[in-house]
């Protein structure tokens, strides 16, 4: 499954309102709840935070990729958020995180889960791509950036 197959305007929020790590995760989960993509939001939050407790998914260059396996999704599900001012996410380089990819997968779909994460790892190596995402003003603009990449 191509990453682009998962990306639509209704799973993207620009800009994020939250200013703290736990709130960003809750906001992205709410985006998925509103889009009808998940079951129990509280259970999803617990799964994501359990993974964060093992080690932050805040990477370098302002990217964060919180993820979890959960039976509250039927298929691989993604939400994208952009916080231009940055949020403290305990990133490995100490910088504020600005672009968030929340990835949720059912426990029996590890293959697509890994491929989506690997796809994100690849595209976020491009500083130009991250700059464009960070400067985006709307969900539609984010979709367009992915399609043009």
């Amino acid at each position: 499954m191509a990453l682009l197959d998962l990306i639509a305007e209704d799973i993207i929020k620009v800009p994020l309102v939250a200013t703290a790590k736990s709130e960003v995760i809750k906001e992205l989960i709410q985006v998925l709840k509103d889009a009808g993509k998940i079951g129990d939001a509280a259970k999803v939050y617990e799964a994501v935070m359990n993974r964060e407790d093992m080690g932050s998914t805040g990477l370098e260059k302002g990217i964060a990729v919180p993820h979890a396996k959960t039976d509250q999704v039927k298929t691989l599900t993604i939400a994208i958020g952009v916080a231009p001012s940055g949020v403290e996410f305990n990133a490995i380089d100490g910088a504020l995180s600005k672009i968030f990819f929340l990835i949720l997968a059912p426990p029996d779909q590890s293959g697509p889960h890994i491929e989506a994460l690997a796809d994100i790892a690849r595209i976020t190596r491009s500083e130009a791509f991250c700059r464009l995402l960070n400067a985006s003003k709307s969900a539609k603009e984010v979709v367009d950036i992915f399609c043009e990449e």
């Binding site: 093992m54 990729v65 590890s110 890994i114 790892a121 595209i123």
Partner: protein, 162 residues
């Protein structure tokens, strides 16, 4: 087995499209008498990339690797059952590595003359074209490649196969 097809390889990646490809391959094997092999590749390159990118912890890598091997076994067993239901003998092989490279290796090692894969995702960006494993397999396979389309039609064909 006098026809042009002697050995068919079908690539299974767990998608519905790859299972449809398996159904088509089973029908083709039955019609031609060609030997049929199903291949699943555990994509360890992607796992390694995730650890390098620090998206995965090493403990997660081990957990997901176990999951992927279990997936491989499950999907290959499913395809074996499909073949058995139509009286077709199928060999199966699970490998670890980069999918398109392992597909190419198996084609060479087993002297495969037809690779069958499921319908490809729509190409919506240049990145898809570069990194889609089925796309890469199609381009790199040293034998003819058949891409199976129209799930409903293949399903009917499979169901009608005695």
């Amino acid at each position: 087995m006098d026809g042009p097809l002697k050995k068919i390889l079908v690539y299974i990646d767990g998608t519905e499209q790859s299972i449809t490809a398996a159904q088509y391959a089973i029908c083709l094997s039955k019609a031609t008498g060609a030997e049929l092999t199903a291949l699943y590749v555990v994509n360890v390159r992607a796992l390694n990339d995730l650890v390098k990118a620090r998206i995965f912890l090493e403990t997660e890598q081990a957990e997901y690797q176990r999951d992927l091997h279990a997936d491989a076994e499950r999907y290959l067993n499913h395809v074996k059952n499909l073949a058995r239901s139509k009286g077709v003998v199928i060999a199966s092989e699970s490998r670890s590595g980069t999918p398109y490279m392992e597909i190419k290796n198996v084609i060479i090692e087993r002297e495969i003359d037809l690779l069958i894969i499921g319908e490809l995702s729509h190409i919506r960006s240049r990145r898809d074209e570069f990194f889609n494993e089925a796309e890469r397999a199609m381009r790199n396979a040293p034998c003819s490649v058949l891409i199976v389309k129209n799930e409903d039609r293949v399903w009917d064909m499979f169901e009608q196969q005695i």
